[in-house]
C-alpha cells in the first residue's frame, strides 16, 4: 500500500486529555476520566493510519484533540504545514488555528446529527468555503457542484435538505464538506460505523478513491477490525487511553505483539462457518476497563492471561520490538501470540 514511507505529517508526543470528575453525581465518587493518557504516534503523509480499540479507549477523543474540538490537557502535536513549517497544533490559536482547520478536517460518525437539519445541502457544503473568504456566488456554486460530483451526488441535490437523504448519502455530503478546502489530513471518526453493510462498502470505496485522487492522509478511527484491516497502512491499537501497539497492518494482523491485540483479533467473528469452528477463541474475562478507574501498572493486566507481578506494578513503555513494530508489553518479544483467525 502506498504512503508507507512518506514524510512525517503529524507527530504526536505525550498527548493527554483528562476530563475532570463530575461532582455530585449519585453513585459515583467522581474521579478524573483519563480519556487519552500519554499517547505518542506519527502519521506519515499519504498513509491511512487505522486507530482501533473498544469503548473507552480514547480513540475518538484523540481524533477530536487533533482537530482541537477538545483542548489537550498536555502534550505536543507537531504538524508540518503545506509550506513546510512546523506548528504545534496543541498550542496554536486564533487565525493560525483557523488556517490549520482548513488543512485538517473531520468526518463524523452519525449521519443524522452531523448535518444541520435546517440548512440545505448547498449551505452545508459551502459553509467552509464561504468562511474561508470566497464570496463570489458563482464560484462557490461551481465548487459545491464539483464536490458533490466527487462524492457521487448530483447537482440537483444541492437545494435539498438532509432529511431527504439516506444515511449513506448523508455521509457522502459530510465527506464533501470535509473535502471542501482541499485538506491534507482527514480524521474519519467512525465514519462508516452507523451505516448498513452494503452502504459501508460504497463509502469505503469512495474514501479509497478520494485518497488516491487527492493524495489525502487518513486517520481512520473505528472499532471494526475488518474495516481497519481493509483500509489501513498502519494500525494503532488503544486500550483505556494508552497506545498498546503500533505497526504496519499486515504485521499487526498476522502476528501481534500485545496480548490485548491478540484478544481483540481472536474475538472478531470469522465470516466462514467452516473456519469458525476450528480454532478455539481466546477468552478474556471481565469487561473493558473503565478510564476513570485505570488499573495500576499495565492497564490490561487484570484481564491478561500472560500477566505476571511486574505487569501489576510497572506500566510498560511503548517500545520497538523489532522492525519498527511498537508494543507496550513487558514480554512483547517473548510471547508467541496468534494472529487473526481468517484464512
Amino acid at each position: 500500500m502506498s504512503g508507507q514511507n512518506g514524510p512525517e505529517l503529524l507527530r504526536i508526543e505525550g498527548l493527554t486529555k483528562h476530563f475532570p470528575p463530575r461532582r455530585g453525581f449519585p453513585g459515583r465518587r467522581g474521579s478524573t476520566v483519563r480519556a487519552v493518557d500519554g499517547v505518542s504516534l506519527t502519521i506519515r503523509q499519504g498513509e491511512t493510519l487505522g486507530l482501533v480499540g473498544e469503548s473507552g479507549c480514547g480513540k475518538s477523543t484523540l481524533g477530536r484533540c487533533i482537530v482541537r474540538l477538545y483542548e489537550p490537557t498536555s502534550g505536543h502535536m507537531s504538524y508540518r504545514t503545506a509550506e513546510g513549517q512546523e506548528v504545534d497544533l496543541a498550542r496554536i490559536r486564533g487565525d493560525a488555528l483557523t488556517r490549520m482547520r482548513r488543512e485538517i478536517r473531520m468526518i463524523f460518525q452519525d449521519p443524522r446529527s452531523s448535518l444541520d437539519p435546517r440548512m440545505s445541502v448547498f449551505s452545508i457544503v459551502s459553509e467552509p468555503i464561504r468562511l474561508a473568504g470566497e464570496r463570489r456566488p458563482r464560484v462557490v456554486r461551481e465548487r459545491v457542484a464539483g464536490l458533490l460530483a466527487q462524492v457521487g451526488l448530483r447537482e440537483e441535490h444541492m437545494d435539498r435538505f438532509p432529511h431527504a437523504f439516506s444515511g449513506g448519502e448523508r455521509q457522502r455530503i459530510g465527506i464533501a464538506r470535509a473535502l471542501a478546502l482541499s485538506p491534507r489530513l482527514v480524521v474519519a471518526d467512525e465514519a462508516v460505523s452507523a451505516l448498513d453493510v452494503s452502504v459501508q462498502a460504497q463509502i469505503l470505496n469512495l474514501l479509497q478513491d478520494l485518497q488516491e485522487k487527492f493524495g489525502l492522509t487518513y486517520l481512520f478511527v473505528s472499532h471494526d477490525l475488518a474495516v481497519i484491516e481493509h483500509l489501513s497502512t498502519r494500525v494503532a491499537v488503544m486500550y483505556v487511553g494508552r497506545l498498546v501497539e503500533l505497526a504496519p497492518a499486515a504485521a499487526v494482523f498476522a502476528r501481534p505483539h500485545h496480548p490485548y491485540t491478540e484478544a481483540l483479533l481472536s474475538a472478531v467473528p470469522i465470516e466462514d462457518p467452516a473456519e469458525a469452528g476450528k480454532r478455539a477463541r481466546i477468552r478474556v474475562p471481565g469487561d473493558v476497563a473503565d478510564p476513570s478507574a485505570v488499573p495500576s501498572g499495565c492497564p490490561f493486566h487484570t484481564r491478561c492471561r500472560y500477566a505476571r507481578d511486574v505487569c501489576r506494578n510497572e506500566p510498560p513503555p511503548l517500545r520497538d520490538v523489532g522492525s519498527g513494530h511498537l508494543a507496550a508489553c513487558h514480554f512483547a518479544e517473548e510471547l508467541e501470540l496468534e494472529g487473526a483467525r481468517n484464512t
Binding site: 482537530v67 440548512m119 431527504a164
Partner: protein, 377 residues
C-alpha cells in the same frame, strides 16, 4: 463462492423526487401543522380575533365610552332579519321602558311597534382608526345612530357591551403580544447565555428563575401594580402592566431556550461548524437559532394566553387596568356583583371571550409544538 463483482444495474434510474424530499424544514412543519384540524381551527379563530381587534373602530357599532342614561342595563336586542310580510328588513325592536316601583329600577320590554332599522356599513359615530385615519363607517349599526342597538345588551352606564367587547379585545389581546415579545427577548438572552456557557452563569440564572417562579404571581403583581400612580395616563399604565407581566413570563421561554441550547451544543453539526471556521456568534445565529426557532414559536403561542389571563385577573381585581381603558378584565369588574349574575347576565360576555381566546391559542400552540420537531417522520 463467486469472485465476480456486480455490474451497475441498468435499472438504477433515479425516481422522481417526492414533494417532501424537495421541501425545506419550514414547509414540512407547515404541512404537519395543517394536518391538525383543531390547531388550524384555533389559528383561524386567533387570526380572526386579532383582525377584529385591529379594526375595532370599524367593527364596533358604537364608541366604547358612549353612555346612555336611559338604557342602563338594557337587555340584548334580538336581531330580526325579516319585517312583517317577509321582506328583508334587518331591524331590532326598541324598548318600552317601565319603572318597577318595588325595586326602583327600569324594566325593559321589547316593543314591536318600534322598529329600529339596522344596516351594514352604516355611517355612525366618527372615529380615527388607530388615532390616525378618520372615518365613520361601521360594519353594523342602526341606520339612525341616535337609536339604541344593543346586540349584547348594555352595562350599568348604558354603554354597548358588544362595542366594549371589541375595543376591550384590542387591549387584552395586544397586551398578550407585547408582553410575550418582552418575555421573548429576555428569555432568549438569558436562556441562551445559560445554555451556551453553562457553569456558574447557568447556575445563577437558573436559581433566579426558580426564585421568581416560586413567588405567588397574583400577590406579586398586585404589589407591583399598586405602586403605579393612579394619575398616570392610560397608555403608560398599559405599558407598565405589560412589563410587570413579563417579569415572570420570561422564565418559561428561558428554560425552553436553555434546554435547546444544551441539546444542540453536543450535536455533531455544531462541532462541524466550529471546524469550518465559524465564530461563536455565527454558530448561534446560523445554526442554533433556526434549530430552536420552531420550539420558541410553540412556547410563545402557549405563553400568550397566560398573559391574557393575567391581565384579565389583575384588572378584574381592580389592580390592573382601570377605566377609561377598556379591556375584558375591566369589563368583568362590573360583573362583580349579584345583580350581574341574577339579572344582567350579558355582562359576563368578556369571560366567554377570554375563554375562547385562551382555548384557541392553546389549540394553536399544541399544534405548533407537535409540528416543531424536525426528526418526527
Amino acid at each position: 463462492m463467486s469472485e465476480a463483482t456486480l455490474l451497475v444495474p441498468a435499472s438504477v434510474t433515479a425516481p422522481a423526487p417526492r414533494r417532501s424530499e424537495l421541501a425545506g424544514p419550514w414547509r414540512l412543519m407547515w404541512w404537519r401543522f395543517c394536518r391538525h384540524r383543531l390547531a388550524v381551527a384555533g389559528g383561524v379563530v386567533v387570526l380572526l380575533m386579532y383582525f377584529v381587534a385591529t379594526f375595532a373602530e370599524f367593527f364596533a357599532p358604537f364608541p366604547p365610552n358612549q353612555d346612555a342614561a336611559r338604557y342602563t342595563f338594557a337587555p340584548p336586542q334580538a336581531l330580526h332579519l325579516f319585517g312583517p310580510g317577509w321582506h328583508f328588513d334587518p331591524h331590532v325592536e326598541g324598548f318600552r321602558v317601565t319603572i318597577d316601583p318595588m325595586a326602583m329600577r327600569r324594566v325593559f320590554r321589547p316593543d314591536p311597534t318600534q322598529s329600529i332599522a339596522v344596516g351594514l356599513f352604516v355611517h355612525g359615530a366618527p372615529y380615527r382608526l388607530w388615532g390616525l385615519i378618520p372615518g365613520d363607517i361601521h360594519l353594523i349599526g342602526p341606520r339612525d345612530p341616535s337609536r339604541p342597538m344593543y346586540l349584547l345588551g348594555a352595562d350599568r352606564l348604558g354603554r354597548d357591551v358588544l362595542s366594549r367587547l371589541i375595543y376591550g379585545g384590542r387591549v387584552s389581546l395586544s397586551i398578550g403580544l407585547v408582553g410575550v415579545t418582552l418575555s421573548l427577548i429576555l428569555g432568549i438572552m438569558l436562556g441562551g447565555l445559560s445554555g451556551l456557557y453553562g457553569g456558574w452563569i447557568d447556575t445563577a440564572i437558573q436559581r433566579l428563575i426558580e426564585m421568581l417562579r416560586s413567588i405567588p404571581t397574583i400577590p406579586l403583581w398586585m404589589g407591583l401594580t399598586a405602586a403605579i400612580p393612579l394619575t398616570l395616563p392610560p397608555l403608560e399604565v398599559y405599558f407598565l402592566i405589560t412589563i410587570i407581566l413579563s417579569l415572570i413570563g420570561w422564565t418559561s421561554v428561558a428554560r425552553v431556550v436553555r434546554g435547546r441550547f444544551i441539546s444542540l451544543r453536543t450535536e455533531d453539526f455544531i462541532a462541524a461548524a466550529r471546524l469550518d471556521g465559524a465564530t461563536t456568534s455565527g454558530i448561534i445565529l446560523r445554526h442554533m437559532v433556526p434549530n430552536f426557532a420552531s420550539h420558541i414559536i410553540a412556547t410563545v403561542s402557549l405563553a400568550i394566553p397566560g398573559m391574557i389571563l393575567a391581565e384579565t385577573a389583575l384588572s378584574f381585581l381592580g389592580v390592573g387596568l382601570h377605566p377609561p381603558i377598556v379591556s375584558w378584565g375591566v369589563m368583568l369588574q362590573d360583573a362583580q356583583n349579584i345583580r350581574a349574575i341574577a339579572s344582567a347576565q350579558w355582562l359576563l360576555w368578556p369571560g366567554a371571550t377570554v375563554a375562547i381566546a385562551v382555548l384557541a391559542f392553546n389549540f394553536l400552540g399544541d399544534g405548533l409544538r407537535d409540528a416543531a420537531d424536525p426528526y418526527d417522520n
